[in-house]
């Protein structure tokens, strides 16, 4: 790929004047027939695709109140037009949230509203023709479903809901995205996004155990398929191999070790990520959630903890109970069995940040904060955690808990500018199924607002470490940081900071005797 022209970061973030079609194109690679069929979608674009698509739109609006209301309620006030990081980074007007929705809305109006049927020109109603479908494919894959626009919309219109609906319509007519759908095929077949089979996973974990012991002298375990452990840990598979994710996994292991609670991972459900959300498919999403329920049942655990992954936490926190009855209130046989099995003294599922935070509150963890003294840390609120979940069941807990965990492990913490964090956080630029090299230009440009805020913190406060709790954010930042003259290694897992500062005690007695 040719070198991209990336503009230098501005001192202040300016709203660009619109540049029509600046991101026009064919969109990301399309899924092959094989990939599509694995998920139950047509392998190729079906012949009567327009008819099928319109029928699917009718079904979606009748099944999703969000989509129905959002399509009707928009008044084109323009509040969202300067809120999307992709618009700010690319200036393509179709990356303004309302204009992105309008690609879908104009077709909705044409086929489902009085005004659009009889006065299409007047209300901007359009036919779903080839050009429109191309625009759908291109621009609904320029949305990371981060929901920043929804925070500012006076009616809470959430472009993510529309982009999910549009992607589902496209899948149903046989036009799918390779990256997301290939990954979904792997998870259904093997259990994780990587397609990493059990033996490879077991080896990886053993290697890590050796590595930790060599470094710390303490035998910290990373158990796999350990029946009757108390906790099932479900984490994004990137934690098993990618940098800097893996240091976060080591952090979880150390925290579990110190907590004295027995834990395990599952080779059957070795993936917290659930790309079913990205493609807007309730069915695919439910399948992913059921895998985790099955693993919990098979292993007989009493708690489920989720690792650092943004959209996975949104799915786990907001959707698992709905999809598979992990939590309480579901009434099918296995949900009831799980309810009996899970310990109701803890939130189910629980985020690893919540778990660590609780231990900190109880004084169970000891930190040597000076170990992180070379760092000036800031925290990137990952979009799905920030805008689609909670932690600690306290208002804004999802902003408070990660920061408290960082502060427990580090002496120097500072936030980025206020307009770019918490509920208003800028997306990393790679979420929502866009973390693929065929979208690299978009990813780099879309990261600009976050990078600009980071630069400000670097210049004003000397920030040299960017901590995050999302596998996608971590991968995305590792890749794009150098494009903006940052050190690619400045991105770390929050649990890497925990890992580096945590004082380990040797819990195994034989080891304790040895060292005497």
């Amino acid at each position: 790929m040719a070198e991209l022209e990336i503009d230098k970061l501005p001192t202040y973030l300016e709203i660009p004047a619109i540049q029509k079609d600046s991101m026009a194109g064919d969109g990301p690679f399309k899924a092959s027939a094989e990939i599509q069929e694995q998920l139950g979608f047509p392998g190729e674009k079906v012949e009567n695709w327009q008819q099928i698509a319109i029928e699917k739109m009718a079904e979606t609006t009748s099944k999703y109140r969000s989509v129905q209301v959002f399509l009707d309620a928009c008044v084109k006030c323009g509040a969202c037009t300067d809120k999307c990081h992709y618009y700010l980074g690319t200036a393509d007007p179709k990356n303004m949230p309302v204009a992105r929705q309008d690609l879908f809305r104009s077709v909705y109006r044409r086929h489902f509203t009085f005004a659009g049927k009889y006065f299409p020109k007047l209300v901007g109603a359009k036919e779903l023709d080839d050009a429109m479908l191309d625009d759908w494919y291109n621009y609904f894959h320029q949305c990371s479903q981060c929901r920043r626009c929804a925070v500012f919309c006076p009616y809470g219109i959430d472009t993510a809901e529309i982009s999910m609906a549009a992607r589902e319509v496209m899948n149903v007519i046989g036009v799918g995205q390779k990256y997301s759908n290939q990954i979904l095929g792997r998870i259904n077949k093997i259990g994780n996004n990587l397609g990493m089979p059990e033996p490879a996973l077991r080896d990886t974990l053993l290697d890590l155990e050796e590595e930790i012991e060599k470094e710390t002298g303490v035998a910290v375990k990373l158990p796999l398929d350990n029946k009757h452990a108390e906790i099932l840990m479900v984490t994004p598979s990137a934690d098993f191999f990618a940098e800097p994710h893996i240091d976060g996994l080591i952090g979880y292991a150390k925290v579990f070790h110190q907590s004295g609670v027995t834990w395990t991972m599952s080779s059957y459900a070795s993936e917290a990520a659930n790309f079913g959300m990205f493609i807007g498919s309730y069915e695919v999403m439910r399948k992913g959630a059921l895998r985790i329920r099955k693993a919990a049942l098979d292993l007989g655990v009493s708690r489920i903890v989720v690792g650092e992954c943004g959209h996975a936490w949104r799915v786990a926190y907001s959707f698992w109970n709905t999809l598979s009855g992990i939590g309480g209130g579901a009434s099918d046989e296995y949900a009831l069995k799980l309810q009996k099995q899970l310990d109701s003294n803890y939130p189910q599922p629980q985020h690893i940040i919540e778990f660590t935070y609780d231990l900190i509150q109880k004084g169970i963890l000891t930190f040597d904060k000076t170990k992180n003294d070379h760092r000036k840390v800031t925290f990137h609120d990952s979009c799905n955690v920030a805008r689609g979940s909670n932690m600690g069941d306290i208002e804004n807990g999802q902003f408070i808990l990660p920061r408290e965990v960082i502060k427990a492990a580090c002496n120097h913490f500072v936030d980025m500018p206020k307009a770019t964090i918490k509920a208003s956080t800028y997306c990393c630029g790679g979420g929502g199924g866009l973390l693929t090299d065929d979208l690299i230009e978009l990813r780099i440009k879309g990261a600009m607002p976050r990078m600009q805020a980071l630069k400000q913190s670097q210049e004003n406060d000397g920030v040299n470490t960017l901590a995050a709790i999302c596998a996608i954010c971590k991968s995305q930042f590792s890749k794009v940081l150098p494009n903006y003259d940052f050190d690619p290694y400045m991105i770390v897992s929050v649990h890497q900071l925990v890992s580096d500062a945590l004082v380990l005690s040797d819990k195994s007695e034989t080891k304790a005797e040895d060292s005497l």
Partner: protein, 254 residues
């Protein structure tokens, strides 16, 4: 002429009431299958109530988004409310209640109304992003509202006073079905015609944002998915039918 006008008024009202009711029933009946509250999400029903009140009365999110749009939009909507209250007096059958008589000064709300609408129109014309997303109907809606406001102001503050006796008996007649002669001033006719046109297009236009906001799942849901199961009827059906299913009972020993 009078008969035609009266017919038009009733037709407009009928379209509005039936159309909006149908939309409300549709929103009501369409399930929200997933919990999707948007941050900062309230954890309790009271919290949702407070959030909704802040959105409906103060346009809180819009305030965060754009101060100018908020300013023009907010003063326009509140002016509209005041003017609506003031107009109730015209339609009130029999003696106008005391409180409505005290709303005389609400007529000055027409100034912020026009200022707000002009501001919103200005944004639509001069801000390139807003211009890009505007359809002809978006301009027409503002122009329609400005025309209603301006014709009202001409009758109130300029010298185009209609015969107020006729205005009262015509408006009251619409409510009491005791129809009377229309005032003949063209400006009054225009005012009434445009106002009822606005009423008629309510259910087929973006004016649906008014009922829509109350049904917006991102705003009206309580953020308590872990504690309380949220499931839609169609998803429950799929669950009982085992439409998507993974064998959960693997008794194999490892």
């Amino acid at each position: 002429m009078t008969i035609g006008f009266i017919f038009f008024c009733y037709l407009a009202l009928l379209i509005c009431i039936i159309g909006v009711s149908r939309k409300i029933v549709q929103y009501w009946q369409t399930p929200a299958p997933l919990k999707i509250p948007i941050a900062p999400a309230p954890l309790t029903r009271t919290g949702v109530f407070m959030r909704m009140a802040a959105e409906v009365f103060l346009f809180k999110s819009l305030f965060r988004a754009s101060k100018w749009t908020w300013f023009f939009g907010w003063i326009f909507h509140w002016a509209l409310v005041l003017l609506f209250i003031r107009h109730l007096g015209y339609f009130w059958p029999g003696d106008t209640p005391e409180v409505l008589l005290k709303t005389e000064s609400f007529k000055y709300a027409s100034f912020p109304l026009i200022i707000g609408l002009m501001g919103l129109l200005g944004r639509r014309i001069f801000v390139d992003r807003v211009r890009y997303i505007s359809a002809p109907s978006d301009y027409l809606m503002l122009i329609l509202l400005i025309a209603i406001g301006a014709s009202g102001m001409l009758m109130t503050f300029a010298l185009y006073y209609p015969d107020m006796g006729l205005v009262y008996s015509f408006a009251e007649g619409l409510v009491t079905l005791n129809w009377s002669e229309l005032p003949s001033e063209w400006i009054f006719l225009a005012h009434i015609f445009l106002a009822f046109t606005l009423i008629a297009i309510f259910p087929i236009s973006k004016l649906l944002h008014a009922p829509g906001i109350f049904f917006s799942p991102t705003l009206n849901q309580v953020d308590n998915a872990r504690k309380k199961r949220h499931i839609s009827s169609w998803a429950m059906q799929k669950e009982t039918d085992k439409e998507i299913f993974i064998e959960q009972n693997s008794e194999k020993d490892e």
